[in-house]
């Protein structure tokens, strides 16, 4: 289990033990698991998935940020994050994240794409 800590500039969004977290790294998705080699990467807009037993437990949209991966800790510094559990095709444009990203075409298109056709589900 790896300690996944998701932090926004305002607060710690959540912190918990997970088996694996898939993150949209700047140069491709990667999975954070325990004993990964120390690694720092920026994030592109995309889907973040928490997995156990090869199933997605929770899924989020992140608009960008940074990841710092150490042996037992995975720290994700996000700009904006939206849990996808209550978001669907009809209401995603009302979400706070969507409104805050106004003007950022790349992030908005990715958001729509993640909502409609998530890579991990």
């Amino acid at each position: 289990m790896i300690n996944l800590k998701v932090v926004s500039p305002q607060k710690v969004i959540f912190e918990k033990e997970v088996e694996m977290a898939v993150l949209p790294g700047a140069e491709g998705d990667f999975a954070a698991m325990v004993n990964h080699s120390p690694f720092i990467s920026s994030l592109r807009p995309g889907q973040m998935a928490i997995m156990s037993n090869n199933k997605v437990e929770e899924s989020f949209f992140v608009s960008g940020g940074l990841v710092m991966l150490k042996e037992k800790v995975c720290e994700v510094l996000v700009d904006q994050i939206e849990p996808l559990s209550e978001i669907n095709n009809s209401n995603f444009q009302q979400s706070k994240t969507y409104q805050e990203l106004e003007g950022n075409e790349l992030a908005l298109n990715t958001f729509e794409q993640v909502v409609n056709t998530p890579s991990y589900k």
Partner: protein
């Protein structure tokens, strides 16, 4: 001899002042708690960010390959000072002690031949510097909600990057009141360009223990990180300053309430003495009138 009626109105007005100051004290106390929580919870992000930044830049002892925006220009000519004041008054020496240290700082820079430009945050600082001869670049006011605090930090960040790139400024520092405790605030300077590393020795040791792989490469990451870092630093100092402001207001309103209490006491004493004197005087008049008959 003071007039009875005047004394009465005086007491009534001091009483209502006391009510206002004690209400303000209570409001400040509850706002302080919220501001402290905000400052506390934003610290996690900024600490991680500085850690990443120091492991990116701390690896090599040689600074030459690092971008200017991190290490600063060798011959600074213009320095930008961001001053984080409050929007409202009635908070004791909060703003004046801030301006005092700003003036000393500006004098010191001037003696080194560096021109200083100001970017005030908060109404008090912009009002203060409008009256002075310092050049104001842009001022930000009405920092009263958390959303607004974020927005302002974002704008300040953009402005800093723009000014530095266009060579309009060579150094950037931020001045804010640090929240020491509920009764003490301390004007504090923090240098953004060149970046000040708070405990560089500790950090570089830690970062050399874990050698990180970087993706994309160091320079690209730095390009993303540095503006982020400005924004978090500015945001952090705005939050810190707002906590300090509420603390300052709380203590000064507490003092004001106590002073009003003392004043009411002494006024009531005078009022009672005067009343007694009036009664005695009337009695004497009646008695001496009766004796005369």
């Amino acid at each position: 001899m003071p007039n009875l009626k005047d004394l009465k109105t005086r007491i009534a007005s001091v009483k209502s002042t006391k009510k206002i100051t004690s209400a303000m004290k209570m409001v400040a106390a509850s706002k302080l708690r919220r501001a402290q929580e905000l400052a506390e919870s934003s610290r996690v992000y900024s600490e991680s960010l500085s850690f990443i930044l120091s492991s990116l830049s701390g690896g090599s002892k040689d600074n030459s390959d690092l971008p200017e925006v991190l290490v600063g220009r060798s011959n600074p000519k213009v320095s930008l000072l961001i001053i984080n004041s409050s929007d409202r008054g009635l908070c004791g020496g909060f703003n004046s002690s801030l301006f005092r240290s700003a003036i000393a700082w500006i004098e010191e820079k001037k003696s080194k031949g560096i021109e200083v430009k100001i970017m005030p945050i908060g109404k008090k600082a912009s009002a203060f510097y409008k009256r002075s001869e310092q050049e104001i670049i842009e001022s930000f006011e009405d920092i009263n909600s958390n959303d607004r605090q974020l927005e302002v930090s974002e704008n300040v960040k953009n402005k800093i990057s723009e000014l530095f790139e266009s060579q309009a400024v060579d150094e950037v520092s931020i001045l804010y009141n640090k929240f020491v405790s509920a009764i003490a605030q301390e004007p504090t300077f923090k240098s953004l360009i060149p970046l000040e590393e708070p405990n560089s020795v500790e950090n570089s040791e830690e970062s050399s223990n874990a050698t990180f792989e970087f993706e994309p490469d160091k320079n690209e990451l730095l390009e993303y990180l540095i503006p982020r870092n400005f924004m978090t630093q500015v945001y952090g100092s705005i939050l810190e300053s707002s906590a300090a402001e509420h603390a300052a207001r709380m203590t000064s309103m507490d003092n004001a309430t106590r002073n009003a209490g003392d004043m009411i006491e002494s006024l009531t004493m005078t009022y009672n003495r005067t009343r007694q004197a009036v009664i005695t005087k009337e009695l004497i008049e009646i008695i001496s009138g009766a004796e005369a008959v």
